[in-house]
């Protein structure tokens, strides 16, 4: 028996794990001190809780505790990393190398710097699986490059980049490597030493922690990375991020990281098998379904597919007891189809037909069975209503049609 509505949008956000919530609660009412209050026990116990969380985060990515600074979320962490590096190292250069499929927090930060005349940016393309080419990276780096920014795994299509190789290239050329690892941390092994990462952004609400808290890992040695802060105030977090710490949020984030580290392997295996089952079920029941992203180098819970001839938002409407998301223009706030799917080089029509399933800790086998049936039924119904499906079945090559838009 499945409980409706079913949530399969875990790349957008995740529910707070009950164990995480338990850890957080005391810090709202009993242990409510400001972690920066140095002179009394309320402050000391809050500071102790924050230190514990720092350790928990550091352990998950093989960093040192002092290298973790807390922020309001990964968007802020990305902003701080990119703007902070460009400002601090402006005498060394002002060129950034990044990639077209990065999260908007990275892309818009880069664009803001370009507009302000503070940086020039190279946006590397990706291949049809969404992967960046390390050789293209090598060729793009100049003696003015101060930052490389490449995400660990993509939030829409799940593709995992060749991070270790990029880390090596960054080391070779002496360029700081920033990695938005929001979707990867807690799901696949991330190791800042093994991977050669110098700055890393992570987010609480993507791994069953609360919203409103994130972190930025800042390498202290080999090399020591310096940043100009974007938020000024009382000099908290070693001067890098002022502002009273969100103690309950941080405690939750820490607890979530510890759970994720412990359960990563079995949970990853379970999600991979659920995802593969969903994928096989849909491909068996329907023709003309296309996978978006890499078939193997992919986040365990992610499935992004396009159902040809069926527009994404209409499908979401039809499966309104299942929460997923789509790359169609109609579902975006800006009415643009997914720029990530477009970057893969697939036909624009398939971008409008894409659906992203994000399986997570609380999804079950029964839910996957239910969703497989539901989606298949609705796709068939919508195809019967689709003029494109009709034309395709009659043997018309849609690309040769003269559309009057």
């Amino acid at each position: 028996m499945v409980k409706l509505p079913i949530y399969m949008d875990n790349h957008a956000t995740t529910p707070v794990d009950p164990r995480v919530l338990q850890a957080m609660l005391p810090y709202f009412t009993d242990k409510f001190g400001n972690a920066a209050s140095r002179n009394h026990s309320f402050g000391w116990e809050a500071e102790e809780a924050v230190d514990k969380a720092r350790n928990q985060l550091a352990a998950l990515i093989n960093a040192k505790s002092k290298e973790i600074i807390f922020t309001s979320g990964a968007t802020e962490s990305d902003n701080e990393a990119i703007k902070g590096v460009v400002e601090f190292y402006k005498d060394k250069g002002n060129h950034i190398v990044t990639c077209v499929t990065e999260h908007k927090a990275v892309l818009d930060s880069c664009r803001a710097l370009e507009r302000a005349g503070k940086a020039t940016v190279t946006y590397l393309p990706v291949d049809k699986y969404g992967m960046v080419d390390p050789d293209a990276m090598r060729n793009a780096i100049t003696d003015k490059t101060v930052l490389i920014s490449i995400m660990y795994a993509n939030n829409e299509i799940g593709t995992i980049h060749p991070i270790r190789e990029i880390g090596r290239i960054a080391k070779e050329r002496g360029v700081i490597f920033h990695c938005d690892a929001v979707q990867a941390v807690g799901k696949i092994p991330v190791d800042v030493e093994r991977d050669g990462i110098d700055l890393l952004a992570m987010s609480g609400h993507k791994l069953y922690g609360p919203k409103g808290v994130g972190a930025l890992y800042v390498r202290s040695k080999g090399p020591r990375v310096r940043l100009t802060p974007i938020i000024d105030g009382g000099g908290h977090e070693r001067g890098m991020r002022s502002g009273t710490l969100n103690v309950p949020g941080i405690v939750g984030f820490g607890a979530a990281c510890e759970i994720a580290g412990r359960e990563m392997e079995p949970e990853g295996a379970r999600l991979r098998s659920l995802r593969d089952k969903l994928q096989a079920g849909l491909f068996e029941r329907l023709g003309e379904v296309y996978l978006n992203g890499h078939p193997t180098e992919r986040l365990p819970g992610n499935l992004n597919v396009s159902f040809a001839y069926v527009e994404g938002e209409s499908l979401l409407m039809g499966i309104n007891d299942v929460a997923v998301s789509s790359g169609s223009a109609c579902t975006s706030a800006t009415l643009e189809p997914s720029y990530v799917i477009r970057a893969l080089g697939t036909d624009e029509e398939l971008a409008h037909s894409s659906i992203r399933f994000g399986l997570g800790r609380f999804n079950t086998d029964e839910e996957v069975d239910f969703v497989t049936e539901r989606v298949s039924r609705e796709v068939k119904r919508l195809r019967e209503m689709s003029p494109l499906y009709e034309m395709a079945r009659e043997g018309i090559d849609l690309k040769s049609v003269n559309w009057r838009a």
Partner: protein
């Protein structure tokens, strides 16, 4: 953004989905929109010699509001003379379906579909081969492909 009841109704119980037979006389076909925009509407009207719309069929690739707009249009035009139908404004559709601002373009496309279907019927009646509709476009495309072999 949750959907209006009228839109949901048309989506779940669309009116007049389908296509007329290829050899049926008196059919005008309008195909508007483009796949890369995420919106394609095909509207077919059976119009008698007096210029009255007797029946309609639609197929749409697009969001719920686009489907609802085209479904509603098939009800709206039945029984109307083509001159009357040509004068239908998208605002009628917006009002009926309570479309929010961001979905108004769906109603505009539906208005265009009516005009395209009637124009196609007129050109066929006049014996012309003007490609005003998808059926014509589609058939021409198939013939083209076959010729290229």
């Amino acid at each position: 953004m949750s959907y209006s009841n009228k839109v949901l109704d048309h989506y779940n119980n669309p009116r007049n989905v389908g296509s007329f037979a290829k050899d049926e006389p008196g059919i005008g076909t309008g195909v508007v929109g483009a796949p890369e925009c995420g919106d394609v509407m095909k509207l077919q009207l059976r119009i008698n010699d007096a210029g009255v719309i007797e029946d309609a069929r639609f197929k749409t690739f697009g969001c719920g509001s686009a489907i609802a707009s085209s479904s509603y249009v098939t009800e709206l035009v039945k029984g109307k003379h083509i001159d009357e139908a040509m004068a239908i404004k998208n605002t009628v559709i917006v009002k009926e379906l309570n479309l929010p601002p961001v979905k108004i373009h769906c109603s505009v496309l539906a208005e265009d579909a009516i005009k395209a279907a009637i124009t196609d019927w007129r050109s066929r009646k006049a014996g012309g081969s003007v490609q005003a509709g998808g059926q014509a476009a589609g058939e021409a495309a198939i013939a083209d492909q076959r010729a290229r072999g």
